[in-house]
């Protein structure tokens, strides 16, 4: 599903690469947690996967798409196949819960009928039924993150990337979000989660990839994390 082969990313003329010859293979339906301290290279790795950044060297293949052959005009199509959840939610502030989730379908050109049939189901899946007409500022942090997850999965992507989705949440809401990600993974979506949260990593007992100073230092099938 995801293949990184000796990928290096340098920013500007810096001698220290943000990512240094990283090689990862993630199979379909896996739940992978990427851990590391701030500045270790986790975000760079995710930016390379969503094609926000180009690698300085190495090969990236996601869902059969070789990024070396990917033209700029096809990047939006690639991103529609990957769901992304951010630490700061990145919701559209002037649009309701329904509109935020529907937006992901509207950009893909789905009809209004399809949108009206799909969006309520996903809102229900993330536990926000009844809040369709609320604006983001009327929701708690956990609820906002649920909206972001609903938006990310409404197109049923094969891959879901969650970049520190619990970073701004209290422990209870953090666990709610993690459980939701597990539920989505059970439906067959490959989940890549980056986090600092030791408790979540250790309790989930999933595959853990550790990055330190841009290098992958460990890749454990049922790993743990110590800060």
């Amino acid at each position: 599903m995801i293949l990184l082969d000796r990928v290096t990313k340098n920013y500007g003329k810096s001698n220290k690469p943000a990512l240094n010859r990283a090689s990862i293979h993630v199979g379909a339906g896996e739940f992978v947690i990427i851990v590391g301290t701030s500045g270790a290279g986790k975000s760079t790795l995710l930016k390379l996967l969503t094609r926000e950044e180009k690698p300085s060297s190495g090969k990236i293949v996601v869902g059969g798409i070789d990024y070396d052959n990917l033209k700029d005009k096809h990047i939006p199509l690639l991103r529609r196949k990957i769901g992304v959840v951010f630490q700061d939610f990145k919701l559209l502030p002037n649009r309701t819960v329904f509109e935020n989730v529907a937006f992901a379908l509207e950009i893909a050109g789905m009809t209004n009928r399809e949108i009206k049939a799909t969006v309520p189901k996903v809102i229900e899946l993330v536990g926000l039924k009844g809040k369709e007409k609320h604006f983001p500022h009327q929701l708690s942090g956990g609820e906002r993150q649920r909206v972001a997850i609903a938006r990310a999965v409404v197109r049923q992507p094969k891959i879901l990337i969650a970049d520190e989705p619990t970073g701004n949440l209290d422990p209870k809401h953090s666990w709610d979000i993690v459980r939701l990600l597990e539920k989505i993974n059970k439906y067959g979506t490959t989940v890549i989660l980056t986090t600092h949260n030791v408790e979540i990593v250790n309790k989930l007992k999933r595959r853990v990839i550790t990055i330190d100073h841009g290098k992958i230092t460990s890749d454990q099938a049922r790993g743990s994390y110590k800060q």
């Binding site: 529609r80 990145k90 559209l92 002037n94 649009r95 992901a104 950009i107 893909a108 050109g109």
Partner: protein
Amino acid sequence: MKSASKSNKNKETIRIRQRRRGWLTFVRMCRYGINNFSRNAWLTIAATAVMSVTLIIVFITLSARQVLVDTVSNVSKRADMSIYLKGDTPEKTIKTIKSRIEKLDNVDSVKYISAEEAREKQAEQYKDNPDTLEAIRESSNEMSATLRVSVKELNDQQSLNNFVKTDDLYKKYKDPNREPSFSGERQQAIKTVGSWVRLASIGGSIATVVFVVISSLVVFNTIRMAIFNRKDEIEMMKLIGAERSFIRGPFIVEAIMYGFIAAIIATVVGYGLLILAHDPMVKYGIPIDNLLNHLKMYGVLVFLSMILVGAAIGVTSSWVATRKYLKL
């Protein structure tokens, strides 16, 4: 044969679907633009206010320039550019000379005033003075036949000067007692008026361009700041796979709406200001009626132009401002 027909049908279906999708995307962009416009109340008020002020400045500047052009035109017309012929010059010769002058580069029109008409005009001037009037009536007509020339450019008297120096027919019939009004001492006076007229025209044009450019930059900056505040939104749209045109579209629709409302406000305010300024300006001899008549006659066109200018400034600003954040 059957397979070719099926393939054509499939192509047609794909084309129809693409067209429908394009239309759907367009409607959605408009809807998002309208939503942004109505849901960002403060931003909408601020941007519309700035754009209204800009369009009022554009309206007033262009109006002021038109008033200046009318004033300049009045001054130019009042400058006496006349050629005098002997009172007994045959009509046919006068017509020939008139048509020769009309053919000169800088000449706009030529008006012939016969010696008789000139005498009538003189009499008209002294109608309240019976003694002088009597003297004029009883004396023989010493007035010249006059060709009053209206020029395009007051400073360019070269062709007229050449004409009076070189045209044999004119030289034969010219009034020996009266030199052309634009020669000799008067030439300098006309030249001075001409330079002032020219200076005013150039100054007016430069001021118009400067005001319009500065105002447009103010609007551009306002829209740029508004879009800067929403760069996270743009970033998010990009990351979930929105096409550039889909991201940019609503901003452009929003800017067009600013332009539309600002155009209504600016036209009403600008027109109102001109009506208020009418009496004081007329009092100082500034010609404003021509402008007001034009505005009345072409009111709809002026309003549409204002919308077009407002929308053009808005669209250009949002196009340029979003470009920075739309790099993939």
